[in-house]
């Protein structure tokens, strides 16, 4: 689905991402883990088009999208969510969702004047879609509240809901579980699985919660210091000594080895 081909990005002297190549397989829920500062979020930003890499290519279904702007990648069905949930805080939850579908004819001012009926029909179908999403995520009670007033977990749900407003191909989830309580996390996890199975979304998620990773993701990719460390099933990765070392620091391996 997405091929990351030898991507590198340096900030000053820091090699945030240092020659990473990986595949995000179609229909899979790929986990991306690694210690803080491993370059996971930077890699997401490069895939989504926020940062331009110094080197390398990004392919979506075999098509080179390295030079496309973020909104153009969005148009191709490549979506991402944020580690700290973002929302249009002065709009309601419903408006936030209806904001998403990118190419609408109301976008052109003249259409707003001259093709009012077509636009009304479009708004109508958008509205119906938004209502469905709100239903799916059980956000009914807050649908007309300002999104800025939602709880952290509800904002995460809204992030997920945003991806459901368009025909997404790949969704990049950046720590969807961060700061969310257990019950809601369970719920978000279920929603991801349902979207994956029922709508065929491909997911790639950065996550620190190993339980969630083990439950949802296969394969799991591990990054450390801007490089790809290993790839495998959750179980394989968890027992890989290199991964343990990356997380716990050098010295731990010899200690655990001695014990």
């Amino acid at each position: 689905m997405i091929s990351v081909d030898n991507i590198a990005l340096h900030f000053g002297g820091i090699r945030a991402v240092d020659g990473v190549s990986l595949e995000i397989g179609k229909g899979a829920i790929t986990g991306l883990i690694g210690p803080n500062g491993a370059g996971k979020t930077t890699l997401f930003n490069i895939i989504a088009g926020v940062y331009e890499p110094n080197f390398g290519r990004i392919l979506l279904d075999g098509e080179d999208i390295t030079d496309l702007k973020p909104y153009q990648r969005f148009g191709k069905g490549l979506l991402r969510t944020f580690q700290i949930a973002h929302e249009f805080s002065s709009m309601t939850v419903l408006e936030n969702l209806m904001m998403v579908p990118g190419t609408q004819s109301g976008e052109r001012i003249f259409n707003a004047w001259f093709r009012r009926n077509a636009i009304r029909a479009e708004e109508h179908s958008n509205r119906r879609k938004a209502d469905e999403v709100i239903e799916f995520l059980h956000l009914n009670r807050v649908a007309h509240d300002q999104a800025g007033n939602l709880s952290g977990g509800q904002k995460k749900l809204l992030e997920l809901g945003r991806t459901m407003m368009v025909e997404a191909k790949v969704v990049l989830l950046d720590e969807v579980g961060a700061g969310v309580n257990r019950t809601l996390l369970q719920y978000i996890g279920d929603a991801i699985v349902r979207l994956n199975q029922e709508r065929g979304y491909t997911f790639c998620m950065i996550e620190h919660d190993m339980d969630l990773i083990s439950k949802l993701c296969d394969p799991v990719i591990v990054m450390a210091d801007g490089k790809l460390l290993t790839e495998g099933s959750a179980e394989e990765v968890k027992s890989n000594p290199d991964v343990i070392e990356a997380y716990l620091g050098t010295g731990m391996k010899s200690k655990t080895g001695a014990a």
């Binding site: 909104y71 249009f88 190419t103 609408q104 109301g106 976008e107 001012i109 636009i119 945003r162």
Partner: protein, 336 residues
């Protein structure tokens, strides 16, 4: 009778001028706030942009007058607004292409934009003086008054007159129309919503399929149109002199900030707050009180709180007071 006279006096010298001036400030401040909302910087060139728009309006007016075109009793300048807006929009878009876009692509800090806009201000400043000169230019024609003070006196038999200039009437009507149109645009059209979304959360907007260059372009177009109209109306109402537009920058910024920067409603509220404060604080109340006070108790001084020379200081006093109470402005705008 005296009470009526006092009221008419108040209307003639405070309310009518403040409403007209407030409308002009509101239109200008809307531009400042739109640019701040979508491009995230305080555009110091906005006063000059208004002057530039007014200048093109004047040139077009002169040309139309030379052809003998007239829409009397309305001023010919209204006809000239169309081409003037087109030229100003073109200039603004060229400025954005050649200057601001460079910094946008580099993701520069707001301070750098501000410095760049000061540069743009000086260039436009020079350009305007080069083309039309620094002196006063008159371009109003058509009927000057809707109600003349003398006619009002004859009609009502009061000793105080109430004069309403055509330019003031037009200012208020045009402002009402533009504000309504702008809010319809921002609330109802997809482009307007995109602009609001982009102003609200730029990162999210970028990753929600909103084309930032489009949003920026529309913001500039609307800003340029509003600035041209505000500048032309201000020129019609008072007179056109490039330097006064440079001075307008202060009350404009004050209006945008007092109202809550980034909030269109705030710019309008702020515009009227600043206009009313400026006029009421610098108005001498001697005559007003002479009508109301009993015989023998009339004030002997002018009863003017501040000399008109200090009217720009009023904007800042209001600004400080409002920001002390609500640090983000009346409508709870953004903080940098």
């Amino acid at each position: 009778m005296d009470i009526l006279n006092a009221l008419v006096l108040l209307f003639n010298y405070i309310i009518v001028p403040s409403v007209a001036y407030g409308s002009q400030l509101a239109l200008g401040a809307l531009g400042v706030t739109l640019v701040y909302g979508t491009l995230r910087f305080a555009n110091f060139a906005h006063g000059e942009l208004m002057a530039f728009g007014a200048m093109i309006t004047i040139l077009c007016t002169w040309w139309l007058q030379s052809l003998g075109v007239s829409i009397a009793p309305l001023p010919t300048a209204l006809l000239a607004l169309g081409p003037a807006i087109a030229v100003t929009v073109a200039i603004v878009l060229i400025t954005d292409r050649t200057i601001y876009r460079f910094y946008r692509e580099k993701r520069s800090a707001p301070a750098i934009y501000i410095i760049a806009s000061i540069g743009v201000m000086f260039v436009m400043n020079g350009l305007i003086r080069f083309i039309i000169g620094p002196s006063d230019r008159a371009f109003g024609d058509g009927q000057r008054y809707i109600i003349k003070a003398q006619d009002f006196r004859d009609m009502t038999g009061l000793s105080e007159g109430l004069g309403i200039k055509t330019s003031q009437g037009i200012t208020v009507l045009v402002t009402l129309f533009l504000v309504a149109a702008l809010f319809w645009f921002l609330q109802k059209t997809r482009t307007g919503k995109s602009m609001r979304a982009y102003a609200d959360n730029r990162d999210l907007a970028l990753l929600s399929g909103i084309n930032p260059e489009r949003v920026v372009m529309y913001s500039w177009i609307i800003t340029a149109a509003l600035a041209t109209i505000a500048g032309a109306l201000y020129g019609l109402d008072k007179s056109f002199k490039p330097f006064t537009y440079f001075q307008l920058l202060l009350p404009l910024f004050a209006a945008a900030i007092v109202g809550g920067i980034g909030k269109p409603v705030g710019a309008i509220v702020g515009g009227f707050v600043i206009a009313f404060s400026e006029v009421t604080i610098t108005y001498p109340y001697k005559k007003f009180l002479t009508y109301l006070m009993p015989e023998g108790m009339q004030p002997s001084g002018l009863l003017q709180l501040l000399s008109t020379d200090y009217k720009f200081a009023v904007s800042f006093i209001i600004l400080v007071i409002v920001l002390m109470v609500t640090p983000t402005g009346i409508m709870k705008g953004k903080t940098v």
